[in-house]
């Protein structure tokens, strides 16, 4: 029986709490970006998911994602339904120095924030009832299988050698692609003056970005699953990439639009955090500078392209999380080195070009599955509950039309 480490356990539980805070942080980040008549509904998406997925994860999500494999490396079995057999003793497979329940709780926070990320794509026009059904279906049918593929020792992408330290593909690519599909399915918002979003409260968004940045230390450094040097490496690479991407985004917007955008600093930091997520425990701090720079350029370009394409991914979820997640996954294959993590592999820079191809397979597989499964879920739910609210409700704003409340008194 493996022994519990007090230090590792404390760090993993603390990290779970840090990642939990990211979801309310995301609510603020998205809430500030929408128009004032939709701020409550946008915040509600994240906050309701915090409750909803906490329960579904305990009941069946964890066992589907991390339970003993059913045989093909595609999905876990029902052995741990409602956490039967998941106790205060360590697992023999996952994080063997912390209680199994602590590992489960840490993973639960990832499962919560992933569908919450998607909500930015259909903000300001999605019916709440349809959103609830979508969140249950997506976290069960998309998130859990992909987490199993990548993070279970029996998962087929894990077996292929795909590296994803903290969820670049599982969390960000999967949610980013789903967001694009959702935006295409639900259609453009009505009444927009410009194709760009109309943030009603930039300070709220910057506050949200700050909370996300703070919580991301749990997301990435916590994924070391121990209080050790690897956690310290992930902590430093995470902060460095976020910082580099933030100042890169600001610089580009300064040159491109003539002003150093505050909103750009916030979004750039998030893009950096996304890109370093799969790489955080496999690359050096110097490499994280390059990853931050690269993702700042790439995601800024993706956001500009999105405006030209006039796809109303309302809060740029695909540009930041989809593109940033794919970029980070490929960059992991370029910059990974066993000098940082002996459990990893070398990447292109260290002479192992095949790791880039393996990472690319992971990106394509996760992206394609998320796209197809998300589309099927949306079509199915739309047959039961119309996903988009009626025109008058959209005009009135979802805060009032869907929740009967308003954020700010007139």
């Amino acid at each position: 029986m493996p022994e519990i480490s007090a230090g590792d356990t404390a760090w993993v539980l603390m990290s779970a709490a840090l990642v939990m805070l990211m979801t309310p942080g995301l609510a603020f980040f998205y809430g500030g970006l929408v128009r004032r008549k939709n701020v409550l509904s946008t915040i509600m998406h994240s906050f309701f998911i915090l409750g909803l997925v906490s329960v579904t994860w305990v009941l069946w999500g964890y066992t589907l994602a991390f339970g003993p494999d059913t045989g093909l490396g595609l999905i876990g079995g029902l052995d741990w339904l409602a956490l039967e057999g998941v106790t205060g003793e360590p697992s023999s497979v996952y994080a063997t120095t912390v209680p199994h329940l602590a590992f489960m709780a840490f993973q639960m926070m990832f499962a919560i924030i992933t569908p919450a990320l998607i909500t930015g794509a259909f903000a300001e026009r999605k019916r709440f009832k349809a959103f609830v059904l979508f969140a249950v279906a997506w976290s069960t049918l998309v998130y859990a299988p992909i987490a199993h593929w990548v993070w279970s020792p029996d998962g087929w992408l894990f077996g292929l050698g795909v590296l994803d330290f903290a969820g670049g593909t599982v969390v960000h690519l999967a949610s980013g692609v789903a967001a694009l599909v959702a935006a295409l399915f639900i259609g453009r918002r009505s009444g927009l003056i410009a194709p760009a979003t109309e943030p009603h409260d930039v300070p709220m968004t910057v506050l949200g970005a700050g909370l996300l940045w703070f919580g991301w230390f749990g997301f990435n450094a916590g994924s070391a699953l121990g209080a050790n040097g690897l956690a310290a490496t992930a902590f430093v690479t995470t902060n460095t990439a976020a910082a580099m991407a933030a100042i890169t985004w600001v610089t580009i917007s300064w040159l491109h639009r003539g002003t150093p955008s505050v909103l750009g600093a916030a979004i750039g930091a998030v893009a950096g955090l996304v890109a370093i997520t799969p790489a955080a425990g496999y690359v050096t701090p110097a490499a994280s500078v390059l990853i931050g720079l690269g993702v700042g350029v790439v995601c800024y370009g993706a956001a500009m392209l999105r405006l030209r394409a006039r796809v109303d991914d309302a809060l740029d979820v695909f540009s930041v999380h989809g593109v940033g997640g794919a970029f980070g996954a490929i960059a992991t294959g370029v910059f990974a080195t066993v000098a940082v993590n002996s459990a990893g592999v070398n990447g292109l820079i260290e002479g192992n070009a095949s790791q880039v191809a393996i990472q690319a397979i992971g990106v394509v597989a996760v992206g394609a599955y998320s796209a197809v499964a998300t589309a099927l879920i949306l079509v199915a739910i739309n047959l039961v509950v119309p996903i988009r609210v009626a025109g008058p409700a959209e005009e009135a704003g979802l805060d009032l039309a869907q929740h009967g409340e308003i954020a700010y008194q007139p």
Partner: protein, 46 residues
Amino acid sequence: MVIAALVCFGILLVAWILAPSDTSHPRVEPTAVEPTPEAESLPLAA
């Protein structure tokens, strides 16, 4: 106990499907507010 927990969630799921889709609250129209000068904009003599 596992079955009971799953049934509890199932009850909520059915409730969500049956719940009303939109509120019947009337639209709140903005009301005119008398502008009041902020403290720092008042003349010092005041």
